[in-house]
């Protein structure tokens, strides 16, 4: 969350200074995926899944760099990179959810990983939908595209960060 905030502030500053800032997101997507994988490795008990997550980091980094060079030249928003990241994170979240350690918490709603994974799943489910809709709206009604994207994206971010905060509170309560 700290890295996200940092990147957003940096991008905002670049934007206000009229400097290119979209390259930041091309780099950030790799950092974000690596950090999430690091977290998932920590909460996964099965060695096979841990190995899979570990190997997925360099693979995703290479794919992401290639896509950024080929499609965006590090100048545009990395939509495809985020889609690939989303698919991988969705698979990892489902795997973590199906293997939640039931011995630690009496109630599933007290489990930090439950909230964190649900948050990411809802976020990426919404992102896939909004990306699909945006592609259509950009072709048909360019004026509405930005507005609809904002309408969809804001609650998704709110849900994601609310879930992350609830997960953090659950983890702190356990300590």
């Amino acid at each position: 969350m700290g890295v996200t905030l940092g990147v957003e502030l940096w991008a905002d500053w670049c934007h206000s200074e009229q400097q290119p800032f979209l390259w930041l997101y091309n780099v950030f997507v790799i950092i974000e995926y690596s950090l999430l994988c690091w977290y998932f490795i920590g909460v996964t008990t099965r060695a096979v899944i841990r190995r899979f997550i570990g190997w997925s980091i360099p693979v995703f980094a290479v794919i992401s760099i290639v896509v950024s060079f080929q499609l965006y030249n590090f100048r545009d928003f990395p939509g495809q990179n985020i889609n690939i990241e989303g698919m991988l994170i969705t698979v990892l979240c489902v795997s973590v959810l199906f293997n939640l350690d039931s011995r630690l918490y009496k109630n599933i709603t007290r489990h930090p990983d439950f909230w964190i994974c649900c948050g990411w799943l809802v976020f990426y489910a919404g992102t896939f939908f909004s990306n699909g809709l945006l592609t259509y709206l950009m072709n048909q009604h360019l004026d509405y595209a930005q507005k609809v994207f904002e309408i969809l994206n804001r609650p998704l971010n709110l849900i994601l960060y609310s879930c992350l905060i609830v997960g953090l509170i659950c983890a702190l309560l356990r300590k």
Partner: protein
């Protein structure tokens, strides 16, 4: 106005994705609570096994104390009483000999009582640890005199969880009891190997052995296997007729 195919596909895909999302969450909750129930059952079963183990160790201790009192202490003190009763105070030299003999016998009785106080019960087992408890058990077997025990420890001892220690000790005690009672052995080896993440306990005898196919095991053997399973240990039994039996218990120390 007819909707463009792109928007229809997007909505259908989004609907499918959200249905999948809801399904994932429902399956997660269902799996979580079924695993929780299974874990709670395991905890109850573990508690029952632990209680049974404690009771069996207690029973074993009482039996050992009773046998010691009857076979050794009782005899020694009776003999001391006999010595004192037959001492003639009119013959000071003979009386002195008898009193000295009685003093020696009382000394032996005190030594036996001290030994008896060291008999293993559940608290002392957890206090002295697995190797200490098994060493005492080996000494007790040596005292019976029917077979020669050999006790070895290798690796750096890692303290096991108290409950695990009790259950492992009880499994080994049961194995030794079987050797003493049924194996007709002259030698029993007890080996404890400590490694980084596991403890391996081996009990090997040179007795008559038996044929085991796993289906017709006695209740003692079944109990040992069940207990090993409850603490997450691996139980391996190899027996060759006329060559002896080896039991290997591999316990994860983490």
């Amino acid at each position: 106005m007819r909707a463009a195919p792109e928007i229809v596909y997007t909505i259908i895909l989004a609907a499918i994705f959200f249905v999948l999302l809801v399904t994932v969450i429902i399956v997660t909750v269902w799996r979580y609570y079924s695993r929780k129930r299974a874990h709670e059952m395991e905890v109850i079963q573990f508690g029952q096994t632990l209680l049974e183990t404690r009771l069996e160790i207690q029973e074993h201790t009482f039996r050992a104390i009773s046998e010691e009192l009857h076979d050794n202490l009782g005899q020694v003190l009776s003999l001391a009483k006999l010595q004192l009763n037959t001492a003639n105070i009119n013959n000071p030299i003979q009386a002195q000999e008898k009193v000295n003999g009685a003093i020696d016998l009382v000394g032996q009785a005190i030594y036996s009582i001290r030994d008896l106080a060291k008999t293993m019960h559940s608290e002392s087992i957890t206090r002295v640890g697995l190797t200490g408890a098994l060493e005492t058990e080996a000494r007790l077997i040596e005292k019976i005199g029917m077979l020669q025990p050999v006790f070895q420890v290798s690796g750096t001892p890692v303290p096991l969880d108290d409950n695990k220690t009790l259950i492992v000790f009880r499994i080994v005690q049961e194995a030794l009891h079987n050797v003493v009672k049924h194996a007709n052995a002259t030698l029993v080896e007890m080996k404890v190997d400590f490694s980084k993440d596991q403890v391996r306990v081996t009990v090997r005898d040179n007795g008559s052995g038996f044929h085991s196919n796993g289906n017709n095991d006695g209740s003692g053997l079944r109990n040992m296997k069940d207990r090993a399973k409850i603490i997450g240990a691996e139980f391996d039994l190899q027996s060759v007729e006329d060559k002896g039996t080896t039991i290997i218990l591999t316990i994860p120390s983490i």
